[in-house]
Symmetry: C3
Subunit: 315 residues, 3 copies
């Protein structure tokens, strides 16, 4: 594997999940694989899980790790071609990406959606510029439209907890006070499209994800109907794609409660975190035995580690 910027960069999702679970059982088994090599983690946005789990994964492989908060420790980058750079942006990504590549062997990047310019966000300008100009493997630590390390961790978690061969998996929108990106939902959908599962997306009207991503995935506007007999309920807020980046609905009827979970087949509750308690999900659900959110977070380490391992083996 050269880059990991999309779930489809994996040769086989199922095989990768199995390898990640094997890694998890003995996380230091490749502890010298990255020796003498360096990964740079570049954060254009804040992070907790991704920041810590990716460092942990890198350390488990013996990689040197350098972390940089691009905004506060560096400066603004220009991404457009041919611009006269006499405004706020101090450096063009052409130089920045090529320069970073001089000091590391792999670069991992977090750069959220603007939520203001749909076309720019869809163009994945930060991730794609680094792919174009850095000339080294690029790992997506959540980009404008995808979060494939999260989706892989989600797949690992479902593999660990599934009790039927072909589970019913529901991706449910839930309310949130702020406008959030669609990245996690997008990558979850794309990951589910690679799974042998009965997959349903549920959200209020107006919250349809990009149809280029959802394709033929089933959409059910009645949340309760969607929950019926579900084995996994994956909850996440996202802002509107149609009315791009807007919060068009904060309907608390979509908060996931114990009553709604009773409609399921004793479903596991999943969320990528951070989660707003009693807005996205009631305390009673996230504190229940069916909540697997902490193990999901734990699997972020093995999701990153298997990805870095595959990249290192290909260097």
């Amino acid at each position: 594997m050269q880059h990991y910027t999309h779930i489809n960069d994996l040769d086989s999702l199922q095989k990768t999940v199995a390898e990640a679970i094997d890694l998890k059982n003995n996380e230091l088994q490749f502890k010298t694989l990255g020796e003498g090599k360096t990964i740079c983690l570049l954060f254009f946005n804040n992070s907790l899980r991704t920041r810590l789990s990716t460092q942990k994964a890198a350390q488990n492989l013996g990689l040197n790790t350098v972390v940089m908060n691009f905004g506060s420790e560096g400066w603004q980058l220009e991404f457009e071609d041919g611009v006269v750079m006499d405004e706020d942006k101090s450096e063009h990504v052409k130089e920045a990406a090529a320069v970073v590549a001089q000091y590391c062997d792999i670069v991992a990047i977090r750069a959220f959606a603007s939520l203001t310019d749909k076309e720019k966000d869809k163009a994945e300008i930060v991730i794609n510029s680094f792919k174009k100009y850095a000339g080294i493997p690029v790992v997506n630590m959540e980009s404008a439209i995808g979060h494939p390390l999260q989706a892989l961790a989600d797949a690992i978690t479902m593999e660990e907890y599934k009790v039927v061969h072909k589970p019913k998996v529901v991706l449910s929108w839930a309310p949130h006070p702020k406008a959030l990106p669609q990245a996690v939902a997008n990558s979850f959908v794309e990951m589910m499209q690679l799974q042998d599962a009965d997959f349903v997306i549920t959200h209020p009207e107006g919250y349809e994800l990009d149809t280029e991503i959802t394709k033929n995935s089933t959409i059910e506007y009645n949340q309760e109907k969607a929950f019926e007999n579900a084995d996994f309920v994956y909850v996440k807020n996202w802002s509107s794609f149609k009315d791009y980046g807007k919060v068009v609905n904060k309907d608390k009827n979509w908060t996931v409660t114990a009553d709604k979970m009773k409609l399921t087949n004793n479903a596991k509750f999943m969320h990528c975190l951070p989660v707003r308690r009693n807005v996205i999900v009631a305390d009673e659900v996230i504190d229940s035995e069916n909540s697997v959110v902490i193990e999901q977070a734990n699997n972020r380490t093995y999701s990153a580690q298997i990805v870095l391992k595959k990249i290192l083996e290909n260097l």
Copy 2:
């Protein structure tokens, strides 16, 4: 030792001090003890000595170290139970603590007092939430009401410099332009209560520390009288506990000068740093041969290292 959040978490202060001095003489003698293990340092507030010395201590033990500035690199945490989280706080400490624990073996936390809500500060809500929800050892890098790594470094320093078996030790308040926490003073008092010493606290009226901490420690409102025959003068500003978090007095008569030091038994001058020169202490005192503030700072490494060693041995 499981956690180190209070000086009383040590089995024996005296034995620990002796072990720390032994470590200091050969700081790499346990350089593989932490191999394959990770410590996360979470800073909710700024830091210089603690930031560098704790990293140094961890590296001396072979631990991987991950540093995170929670405020600027992450987001605000919710600590209250049952809250509808639709305001500024993005994640509950229940998840944040449990998640951090997935990526490290020990978590060290700096979270200062609010100085606005006495009850919340006394409840040590950040440290205690991590102890409750993380499920891994927690180290206090200065909490709302205590700074036990500093107190242990202070004990090491006094052991190194004491010339009589039972020294007279004075903790003196001194003026400062801003409202500072009581944490350092509190932990110093609690540490001194475990020592065989003649211990006196001196401060202006209105600056009494929490009596649940000072207990029967001697308080002398006349600074000069307190200094008489002292072997160690430990100086520190703190804001009022009674009129909580307020600066009720900036009396420069309390600044420690050479004339006042002449009242002592050639006392060593101690301060945890950072120190405001010519406000807390005159240049002539901190620049004198009796000032041991730099060695005190140096001992922060061995204070942290002996604590981490004990925790690692118990993992």
Copy 3:
């Protein structure tokens, strides 16, 4: 070598350049030299290349590395003697420098010019205070008036690309929207004064660098004339030294274009980066085969690594 705060701290520039190129060919040949030792990188200002390349250099030598952003993670320092510290500055550099030295073996510092107080900037107050009070080797990662790690990287780059024994090297000012320090230009001039080259500085009138630095170096106010037959064109903006820290000219006629490069002897284009495209230099020049800016950035690693190696060997 004890400190590296000025290009003249090198015994021999030519010998050091040769050693750096040898290191570059086998960068891990001294990978255990720094074992058990620690370097602290203290940033008073933002950084990309310096931040990453110095960490990379330290890791290549087996050094532990601790990075601290002094402004955002620490607090303001006082540098004046005898001050009553009752304003915004929390700690005196006397303590801060001595304390940092307790936790590391080498300290590297970035502290830009104020551009408001020429005398203070010339006094190199931050770097010199650390040299005075830390008692450990100090490395300059760009100070008020110099950037000797950059100048050494520039010398390495010119050695790699030169085709004649005594090249013509032009340092050309170019326009920029903001006021920038003279540090890079100063150190480049001082480095060139140690080289066997035909060296010319070109800039508009009013942009003369400190004559204590330029000494007898040739100054040519006609940029096109300066470019004639040049083998290397090193471009950089700086603010006025005479009218200290001011932008007295933004003349776009000084932007480096392909037409101007045609006047040269097929010159290599150099810039320390970050660079404002189409302000400092036209896209057509920086994107041409004659642009060596990325290799120049790459050489920052070996510039730092040879310096750290020499310091470690002298510890």
